[in-house]
């Protein structure tokens, strides 16, 4: 959820939404590594975080089809024991 105090402190904020994209708000610009402008088209954008969007760098909802999981907060650095098989 948005935390207004952080938005007041910073020109722009990035908010991870649980199992979903990163929302980018505020005074930002999206550019290619060469500095080319990428039109965000709106004041608040959703950036793909599952890697499967077909309109990267923006989110197109595909994360819901692939069961993408990610927390809204910082992921714990120590892997969960239940992840052991995948590591």
């Amino acid at each position: 959820m948005t935390h207004e105090p952080a938005q007041e402190r910073r020109a722009a904020t990035v908010t991870p939404y649980e199992d979903g994209p990163l929302l980018l708000r505020g005074d930002f610009e999206i550019v290619t590594p060469d500095g080319e402008h990428i039109d965000a088209g709106r004041p608040t954008v959703a950036l793909c975080r599952c890697g499967r969007s077909r309109i990267k760098p923006f989110c197109d909802g595909t994360h819901k089809l692939i069961g993408f999981r990610a927390p809204a907060d910082r992921q714990p650095t120590r892997p969960d024991p239940s992840d052991a098989e995948q590591l």
Binding site: M1, C59, D60, G61
Partner: protein
Amino acid sequence: MRLPEARGDLSAAVIEGLRSGQAVEVAHLPKLRDTDPLADEDLQLALTVCYELHYSGFEDVDDRWEWHPGLLALRAEMEQLFERALRALTGPQPAVGAAEIPAALTALTAEHDGPSLGRHIQSHATIEQFREFVVHRSLYQLKEADPHTFAIPRLAGRAKAALIEIQIDEYGSGRLPRMHAELFRTTMSCLGLNTEYGAYLDRLPATTLAVTNMLSMFALHRRLRAALTGQLAAFEMGSSLPNSRYANGLRRLGGDSRATLFYDEHVEADAVHEQIAAHDMCGSLVAEHPELSADVLFGAAASEALGGRASAHLLDSWAAGASSLRPVTGPGSAGRLPETQLPAGVAS
């Protein structure tokens, strides 16, 4: 828009009352029949006429009818039937905590297997079917976001801020060409359709009218504000993926980037809106008012159920080789759809 053709005694009483300027009294109206209110052509059209007085009204109706006590009393009776049917259709919703609201909304709006309007339109729909689909959506999309604006003064704090963040985008940040309703007008125009608001009202069946009526009922009653937020969240959560299919379908049929912009825009916009709606709007509303959680989920479930019924009507009609629209009445060309392929210059 002009008053539509009546579809039964109830809508005839409302329409004739408005046209003649005579008082509409509940006592003088036909008894509301015992049919499925969600599919009743007469009831849904009468409700639509009552609600449209709160949006852009009718050219041939005195604007003062919007707050006419007799008409409002009748509308209340119709709404009671409508809401009861919606609650029966969706069943009781659990009270959940604010933290569980996004997951509960996700579960309610998950894509299921089975017939999908989006997949049909992406791969199989003819240009005639695509036009019909657009006509069905036009009563809402030409006033896209307007019902939810009624909720702004009824919310507070973070839920209100979240709704406004969504609405600013819906209205193109105040730039007319980017307003979603205007993008839809462009799509209609590219398809050779009449972009005048309500031009196809006579052709829309009850299943389509019921979707917009649900929005209006939630929007015009403060009591149902939580249902409206849940409905909006469900709408946004079930939007990005189908819209990419609609865009692909229109491209397959020869639509250029101007024609498909409405759908392409919604893929990107609604991926943003769904997060804000589920977490920041509905989550914050329930955090502030835990007693509203069941209504948030009711709104989402009702939106899914009515949306599903409306889509099923299109797919069923097309599977039977029929039009999904009501037949054209009267001798004029009003309400007729073009029979041509996409006009020259639209095909890319």
